[in-house]
Symmetry: C2
Amino acid sequence: MPTYKAPVDDVLFLLNDVFHIERYGNVPGFAEASPETVAAILAEGAKFCEEVLLPLNRVGDREGCVRHDDGSVTTPKGFKEAYRAMSEGGWIGLSADPEFGGQGLPFTLAAIMNEFLTAANMAFAMYPGLSQGAYHALRVHGSDAQKKMYLPKIASGEWSGTMNLTEPQCGTDLGLIRTKATAQPDGSYKINGSKIFISSGEHDLTSNIVHLALARIEGAPEGTKGISMFVVPKFLPKDDGSLGSRNAVSCGSIEEKMGIHGNSTCVMNYDGATGWLVGEANRGLHAMFTMMNEARLGVGIQGLALSEVAYQNAAQYAKDRLQGRALSGAKFPAKAADPIIVHPDVRRVLLTIRAFNEAARALVIWTALQGDLANRSEDDKVRQAADDQMGLMTPVVKGVLTDCGFANTVLAQQVFGGHGYIAEHGMEQFVRDARIAMLYEGANGIQALDLVGRKLGKDGGRAAMAFFNDAASFVKAHADDEAMKPYVAPLDAALGHLQKASIWFMKNAMFKPDNAGAGSYDYMHLFGLVALGYMWAQIAKAALAKKSKGNGAGTRMDAKLLTGLFFMERMLPETGAHLARIQAGADGVMKMPAESF
Amino acid sequence: MPTYKAPVDDVLFLLNDVFHIERYGNVPGFAEASPETVAAILAEGAKFCEEVLLPLNRVGDREGCVRHDDGSVTTPKGFKEAYRAMSEGGWIGLSADPEFGGQGLPFTLAAIMNEFLTAANMAFAMYPGLSQGAYHALRVHGSDAQKKMYLPKIASGEWSGTMNLTEPQCGTDLGLIRTKATAQPDGSYKINGSKIFISSGEHDLTSNIVHLALARIEGAPEGTKGISMFVVPKFLPKDDGSLGSRNAVSCGSIEEKMGIHGNSTCVMNYDGATGWLVGEANRGLHAMFTMMNEARLGVGIQGLALSEVAYQNAAQYAKDRLQGRALSGAKFPAKAADPIIVHPDVRRVLLTIRAFNEAARALVIWTALQGDLANRSEDDKVRQAADDQMGLMTPVVKGVLTDCGFANTVLAQQVFGGHGYIAEHGMEQFVRDARIAMLYEGANGIQALDLVGRKLGKDGGRAAMAFFNDAASFVKAHADDEAMKPYVAPLDAALGHLQKASIWFMKNAMFKPDNAGAGSYDYMHLFGLVALGYMWAQIAKAALAKKSKGNGAGTRMDAKLLTGLFFMERMLPETGAHLARIQAGADGVMKMPAESF
């Protein structure tokens, strides 16, 4: 059975020593988030994840969700009690508005908790995760009456939420949506159609489920400009919020899938279900997009979370498993064999994962902080700059963290040899669960196109330029610091590759967009490496400072500095290969006739 | 449901146009393998795989194998009939000796058929695959009586075979084996112990199962020098080959695993089972090693096979799936959307897989040919040179083809978006099935150590030097050929990286073996890229020649040339990053104290 210990100390180091969140004390919600409060909250959250959710992870995978003949769905044993405990602990509304019963804490804290929750039990964590998404959409786009009706119950965990976008003929291309909405005299709509891949679509965890569904109002324009968003509750609420009659939206079947078996991924049938318009008619895609950054950041966190729990188990196994001898001679001659961590190649694998995890965690926290600043700061300039960075970094976090997170679960599984393939160790479940994050909420190829096609050139490249300048300033400020040189010199080189690639697109993709498409995936990973490298440089700086204070953190800081060096020496230089592939252009991929594939 | 068409034309091109196997007409078995015969055999084999095995692939995954209370095991529905058809078709003994009822055809043909069989149904193909392994071990090390008793029945498919090595406390490190063998007065042994991860360990496909098991004879030396090999049949055969009493070897349980559910991976309990020594006492590991090349090549083929079937399905989906529009404007404005193959990034993914597949198939065939020459040539020098190359290339084929094969199933799955995660499309099964090949028959880290620690320096580096010279001669011979330049120039650069890395090991690893260990994995992949690049250069040469003959193969040859260019431009240059990581040495991975992981 896998083990998990939430990396609370690492998070506190990032919040306090690297990002100095005390700087944001004047931003609403941050004053309440003093170092002591944050430490206490995270310690309690960690305990819940480690003791309640982790033991349910394998149960969830084995049992899965069961749909009964009446369309009801039972979640795996223990999920219901855990969900109740989570609601009662106030975790679901951690960053929700106090006005609607939330704790009002920074979104950053919720993002951190999402890592812990997901690492312990990804399938479970998706239930409250979807609720947070629905909360956010209704909060931004709902009417006052809708907010009053739904938000407090979602924030408290009494009701849950879902997002209903995908249909069999459309995933990426939502302009092809066929689900119909017909206006009723009372201002409501009748919704008819079928949605697929609906996470948490039907279950027994909450008394009501609030579906947010995209549909086309009869007579609406073709394509993406005719899509509207509707709120369609499973039970129609009475004015006092108590449950009324059952709505005509139901689970037609549960998808049989590779992993996350504990989450009910449903085909949802809308058979004249009653729904109410959320926001303006025909502006449904716009409404979805405004909440996409946080949703995609949440998926990126899933990649990190599974990479972290997979690392912890692989590292422990490498220290425990006795097999063979060190290349340089037996290290434990009294034992039957040496632990496999004596092998350079095993260490290489572990360091590869860890060098990603620590920087990815920093990047998640930094991006979530931008989200908080963008939503809460009272300074217009700060809000805009933060919104720029959040928008720019979202496809990078989603695409790179899920690609690398998945790859890392595979690496961690490899440390177990044949035992990694056997269900009981849990490593193969991490691989199967992590795989979905590369696919949903916009497959990673779409993230790459979003980055290159939309985010990079937006507002004259303002966001990208600000990021480049920020990183370059850091490099410059530490260029003469001997201790920092091993970190900033490689970062400088990688940043140069990223800037060259950006310029190459400006020159070559304007009139030939296929040149952007052919290099988009490499660019996303090139950007990700630079962003992670920049995080490592900042971590190194903080670690050196903490070490120099000599307050007993030396060993832990040394490990960070060595892991960061590994990243700089063996992982970051991959930016050169990405740049070369980008500069190869589109011809090599476009020349082949489609029928030759 | 996935589809599959065995790449017969591609194989014939490789055999006839690239490797000119008519050259080997004087090697036993090759005279019978005329181009017409080979084409007919492969066409028939392809039909069997496509029509009989493919439809059972998903059934096997869903049903898995069932162990009953009496220890018997039932395979998935349809497997038994398919196995009978396969036996009757003579496929199991395709390259077995005519003396023992085999077809006597080249091993190369069996290797090719193994790709087809595995692509159609990997879990099924493992049953005859294990039989071929057991056949080979008994043929090389068995006594005349053992050969006479077992080989004809294994070659015909009447009986099947298994290999029993792994125990809970030992996989890589077989010196830790605990299974005991006690000599009996009649010359047999009583075997006691427990083996795990035994593929095809118990099933209902054949009337008898011939286990080859490693055990320690009482009083034998400690460690690897005290391991012996035994033949332990499920039913003790009478002198006339008919079945006698049931032996005390039985399936204790079936492992619950990530994939290959249709193959029964068993815990095998030896409770005083009767076995007979195969070969010399205490030379069991040696006996295993002599058959390891072919077994590991077989696992490498699994990587290729799943990459191929995954490619075929992803390419078809990309041509069928309508979603969004081309970046350069709608290509099929009359349709609701363009097929996703218009996107450069989708093509990049498909070409990445295909550029691997075609070269990997060439490398498999070339390596298998070395195996044939090593075993069958009457010329000592040819035998030795071929044996050198087979030994050198085995860890490369096993490690690189399974790593890339798995990665390619993941890429192919990605083309399907969210649909790739759903069982019905079959893409996620390819991923789960392909994963095991990186782990068993020596985890890939072990392959890398085998290459760097044993194969590279063996006989003064004779095998590696011969390979380098061979590739360098090819480069030199075509350096002035304009049409070949785009292939040989990148190959030349990559070969330079490989040679530099080899020299770096010679200088830096002799007295510090951790330097070899830390770079071993990169070296394996660097070697693999060069080997695949060399294959592409040879394919390009043959394609140009065939195209110039103008015999209607133009489109197919053009596709090969474009795919090869993609490899040269976007995949081969990765050798530079591998070299840099190798030259970084061991310090970066060894400095971290074990307890800091």
